[in-house]
Symmetry: C2
């Protein structure tokens, strides 16, 4: 597996671009992104399970179901959510604008939005800049970066990646970009994630690979326990690599699927690290649970506990909060057989053994927890279930960002 | 219903006291409390549902089941949780010390603890001060206040109350104290709550009244989504008022039960207001849900959303976050028929009508949300289910308190 640097433009036949069209107040910030493939793509997608859904999402769901996509247009600064029929109309109009520009069916255009809820989408702004958006397309890192910038809101870091694998000797690429740093909680992790690949793969296999990858990555990510109305992970496969089409769960499928999962895990970690106000990436691993879903629920309960997150911010080895968060996860386990250790590149320290305090140096623990990437490793005494989840610390800046978001 | 001012000492026959015995480092802070009734009391209790339970709780559960209590001894500064068999032994020893002092059965003493998890309870400190604790008992507000101080940890306000009602012409009193400001979330709200009453009431009826009161008060309270390992609400009824014993759900039961509920609601509100770092009491009312449990779940999802709480801290009328939190509550509702208004003593403003932005003045909304007590009122279009829950805002101080709790 080789790492590449041009994100969604790494796979053959994809171009991307991004501009400012006037949705964000600051004209230095791009707010409209386009990803485009000349060849029609097989799509697969996963959407938020929030009851309240953005208008763009409703339209995109319909278009993905239709089965063939050429493009993704995404805006930031406005979620087009809680905007009623007018919102759905605006999302359809956005797709139609791209369709006209490229002479493709409107149903082949996916639409995504992220930003403030409840404000009408300024469709006129999009309309007047649609040609500039089309003109901004290019097939290299610059195109990818412009598109990525244009989907960012409170994100402070670029979260992207691209890899190359070989399927029976044929190089195949997968590229991705994500945005999202608040309202992040399974299922799904709140986010937009656009993935491109030049693999030739059937819709059924693409869906299977995406579901597996998301369940082990974005669905194991929590920033603040809130699940957005606009979450969407969308993958487009245009077949330009010319590999033998993947239509069953053969070896090529396994290689492709593993690569997609590893790319999504690396993005999930980047999203956790870029959680709103976060100073640390927190990895919580639960092992020895009765089963994997139980392990996942337990680990998520710890990673999403405000008390644990605040302690991690303070680099405070307050392991009692880990025990407490495990205890109210709603999963059965033996409360007398819990081991907890903290780890980072500065070392590792056992803080709790058989649910009792272990002897450890507070000073050493503080040093370990002061690193930028820290781990809470939990071992239960119930079985072989294991899961790893990602989160971040709870900081003054989280409060600041979210106390003043609209101001 | 008359309000009184001596808390758990208001009902006849109860005395209380509190001292510093050396569990807390600061000798100006009391850490050991006692509530005592000469007459044996009928007890009823509710405990945390956390899988990890404090040792005191395990012992108290056993003693409550035995059916007759004289006393509650409670310490703060040490949770006696994750302390293994030694912890249970220490809790039993604590009960035995009071039993010896008053020549009562050890099983008639309830034990409660709150504080840091995983540190052995310094039983020697309790042992050496047990006589001073007994000596500190008195039957007025001073006794109540000393006991209340001795159960507080990060609490910044006293949360107590006492009322008098008449049952068929006989005055009956109920008094209460609570502690708790973090790790607070249903079920149960993380807390210690000790209630005394001189009512003559059967155990069955007392349990029924307590369950009802708690379900409409403490179980509708959320501060940070964490449920403690040591939660306990305990009521003692010593019958000293001389009313006709309540043994069925008659009129006297209804009066008693309503009074208990109203006392618990007032304490729940005080706890929310004293949530760690809180600057505002947040009341969330959901009406028009399909049923009451649904309304409760929806309201709790809003009141416990970090994004909503941070917006309330910033007095930001970001109602989209309310919609978002409703949407991921896991309750079915019509996402197109949601109305939201914000209210406080400064006025009321409709911000969302039929799931769309209402026209409102941001300035007015800010003024309303800048009050110390604010309400989010939600009306759904699904039925007659309604529920009110209480919470608080998420502030810099919450992060500060919990990032440095043990330091």
């Amino acid at each position: 597996m080789k790492e590449l640097h041009s994100g969604v433009c790494a796979p053959k036949g994809f171009r991307a671009g991004g501009i400012w069209c006037g949705i964000k107040a600051d004209s230095r910030k791009r707010d409209l992104a386009l990803i485009y493939s000349e060849r029609p793509c097989v799509p697969a997608a996963m959407f938020t399970t929030n009851m309240v859904k953005g208008a763009s999402l409703l339209v995109t769901r319909e278009h993905v179901a239709a089965g063939s996509l050429h493009a993704i247009i995404a805006n930031s600064g406005n979620a087009n959510t809680c905007t009623g029929d007018a919102g759905v109309k605006a999302a359809r109009r956005t797709a139609a604008l791209i369709a006209d520009e490229f002479a493709i069916p409107a149903k082949s255009v996916a639409v995504a939005s992220t930003g403030v809820i409840g404000v009408p989408l300024p469709i006129a702004a999009i309309e007047s800049e649609i040609s500039s958006l089309a003109d901004s397309l290019c097939g290299d890192a610059a195109g990818h970066n412009a598109a990525l910038e244009a989907i960012m809101t409170t994100d402070t870091r670029k979260k992207d990646g691209a890899i190359e694998i070989e399927l029976s000797g044929v190089p195949v690429r997968i590229g991705a970009m994500t945005k999202g740093s608040g309202m992040i909680h399974p299922n799904m992790a709140t986010m937009l994630c656009f993935i491109t690949t030049d693999a030739d793969i059937s819709r059924e296999m693409l869906e299977k690979a995406l579901r597996r990858a998301v369940s082990h990555s974005f669905n194991r990510l929590t920033v603040d326990g809130d699940m957005s109305t606009n979450d969407m992970t969308l993958i487009l496969a245009n077949g330009a690599a010319g590999n033998t089409p993947i239509t069953t769960e053969n070896d090529d499928f396994t290689i492709f699927s593993d690569a997609l999962e590893s790319l999504c895990v690396s993005l999930a970690r980047k999203m956790a690290r870029d959680g709103e106000g976060a100073t640390r990436l927190l990895t919580v691993a639960a092992r020895g649970a009765a089963d994997e879903p139980g392990a996942e629920t337990l680990a998520k309960s710890v990673a999403s506990s405000s008390l644990v997150k605040a302690a991690i911010f303070g680099a405070d080895a307050n392991w009692g909060r880990t025990l407490c968060a495990l205890g109210h996860a709603g999963v059965d386990f033996d409360p007398e057989k819990v081991d907890v250790s903290f780890a980072s590149r500065a070392g590792s320290v056992v803080v709790c053994k058989d649910s009792r305090a272990a002897r450890f140096s507070e000073e050493e623990a503080k040093k370990i927890l002061s690193e930028e990437e820290v781990e809470i490793n939990i071992t239960l005494g119930d079985g072989a279930g294991a899961a790893v989840v990602w989160g971040c610390d709870l900081t003054y800046d989280y409060v600041k960002i979210n106390g003043e978001y609209r101001s």
